[in-house]
């Protein structure tokens, strides 16, 4: 089809040469490049894009704003999609900030779950203690920030039940986790109390395997994969922002799906 903006006739062969500077200044890709560059960030923040720390601070401020918006939008009663048991991927996908050969298995018989912060009963919990609590199962999608996902089936103690049982201050802001692989993490209290947030003890009906967090890991249907620490060893309820392993490296803290 003939272009509607194409002239019917060219006035002269020299016209292009005459207007070459103007044409060059109108290069579309150049405009897009400029628009999509950090120039946009400068307009937004007034920062000096030549200083990387200023750019980083601006991006982190936007990320924190994202966290706030996600927390506002979070509906504590809205359930994430669930799936039939037949869709459970066995075994699940391993991922960590190190290779699987560096996994250090945890001895379930000596494992203790330490409690700290705004919790009334801070006695450490054993694995049989947790196994004796009412369990819940859910088949949910694990979504990684890297872009992959899989369907997994998890069984464990609803974190809400656990927090209620130990007398945690449910009006506190954060629930923080420490793990055996030095992967600290933390979540908002609203998500901690969500019905699809578990202290998972089983996968696909079997005891959690070593590389997937035995004896206890956190599993949430409402947050990205990196917010689900494995090999949990301590839980703290606090009003002081605890951060997390990837959050210190710039990942968003809320990490909602």
């Amino acid at each position: 089809m003939r272009s509607r903006v194409r002239p019917n006739d060219f006035s002269s062969a020299g016209a292009f040469e005459l207007h070459r500077p103007l044409i060059k200044s109108l290069e579309r890709r150049g405009l897009l490049r400029a628009g999509l560059s950090l120039g946009a960030l400068t307009l937004l923040t007034g920062c000096d894009v030549k200083r990387p720390e200023a750019v980083e601070a601006a991006l982190l401020a936007i990320s924190r704003m994202n966290d706030g918006v996600q927390a506002l939008l979070f509906d504590p009663n809205h359930l994430a999609p669930t799936y039939p048991e037949a869709m459970i991927l066995r075994p699940p996908k391993f991922n960590a900030y190190y290779d699987v050969m560096d996994v250090k298995p945890v001895d379930g018989s000596t494992w203790r779950l330490e409690l700290a912060g705004l919790i009334a009963e801070k006695r450490p919990w054993t694995l049989p203690d947790l196994q004796a609590m009412p369990q819940r199962s859910m088949v949910i999608r694990h979504v990684c920030v890297e872009g992959w996902d899989y369907i997994g089936g998890w069984t464990g103690v609803p974190l809400r039940s656990f927090l209620e049982r130990v007398g945690a201050d449910l009006s506190a802001k954060y629930v923080a986790f420490k793990t055996a692989d030095d992967y600290p993490s933390s979540i908002d209290m609203a998500t901690a109390l969500h019905p699809q947030t578990l202290l998972a003890l089983q996968y696909g009906g079997d005891t959690l395997a070593d590389p997937f967090g035995y004896p206890v890991r956190l599993r949430m249907a409402t947050k990205l994969g990196y917010k689900n620490p494995k090999w949990v060893t301590a839980i703290e309820v606090t009003n002081t922002y605890p951060g997390g392993y990837w959050e210190k490296l710039g990942f968003p803290w809320f990490g909602g799906i």
């Binding site: 628009g35 946009a40 996908k93 991922n95 290779d99 699987v100």
Partner: protein, 154 residues
């Protein structure tokens, strides 16, 4: 209008974009160290049980960031020495001209639904003989085998 559109796009990307950095700074399916047998290497990768029938059809990747597709699993057999081998199509172009080769199961790793050949490079796989069923017996689909794990290579 175009610069304004571009700036708006950039703003939206900054506002709603999530960090999408890789969580894995190093590739997962690294080859075994020199002198280590495939079985020893596999044992270090927390081998997990999986039914043979669930392996069939799975994609086989090269353990590199680009996750190059090497082929797909077409069968699992046991040779005369009792070694379990994964039969996969390999080579060719756009699905044409590939041939079947048999790779030791202990050379493979699982990454969720995908698999990787951790112990051999594509150059080494090119030198593998074309698979012939003689001297091997198919492993039934219900048989449970154990396959090591690796983190994603991207």
């Amino acid at each position: 209008m175009r610069p304004r559109f571009a700036v708006t796009t950039a703003c939206l990307a900054l506002l709603f974009g999530q960090a999408a950095q890789a969580q894995s700074p190093t590739p997962g399916g690294m080859p075994p160290p020199p002198g280590m047998s495939l079985a020893q290497s596999n044992a270090m990768r927390f081998p997990q049980p999986i039914r043979v029938g669930q392996l069939l059809g799975r994609v086989v990747l090269q353990p590199v960031e680009s996750q190059t597709v090497l082929g797909h699993i077409r069968g699992v057999v046991r040779d005369n020495q009792g070694q379990v081998l994964v039969v996969m199509n390999f080579g060719g172009f756009l699905g044409f001209g590939s041939r079947l080769i048999a790779v030791p199961l202990d050379a493979m790793v699982l990454l969720g639904e995908a698999t990787e050949v951790a112990a051999f490079t594509p150059q080494q796989l090119r030198r593998f003989a074309a698979f012939t069923p003689s001297g091997t017996t198919p492993v039934p689909a219900e048989t449970v085998v154990k396959v090591g794990l690796a983190k994603p290579s991207h």
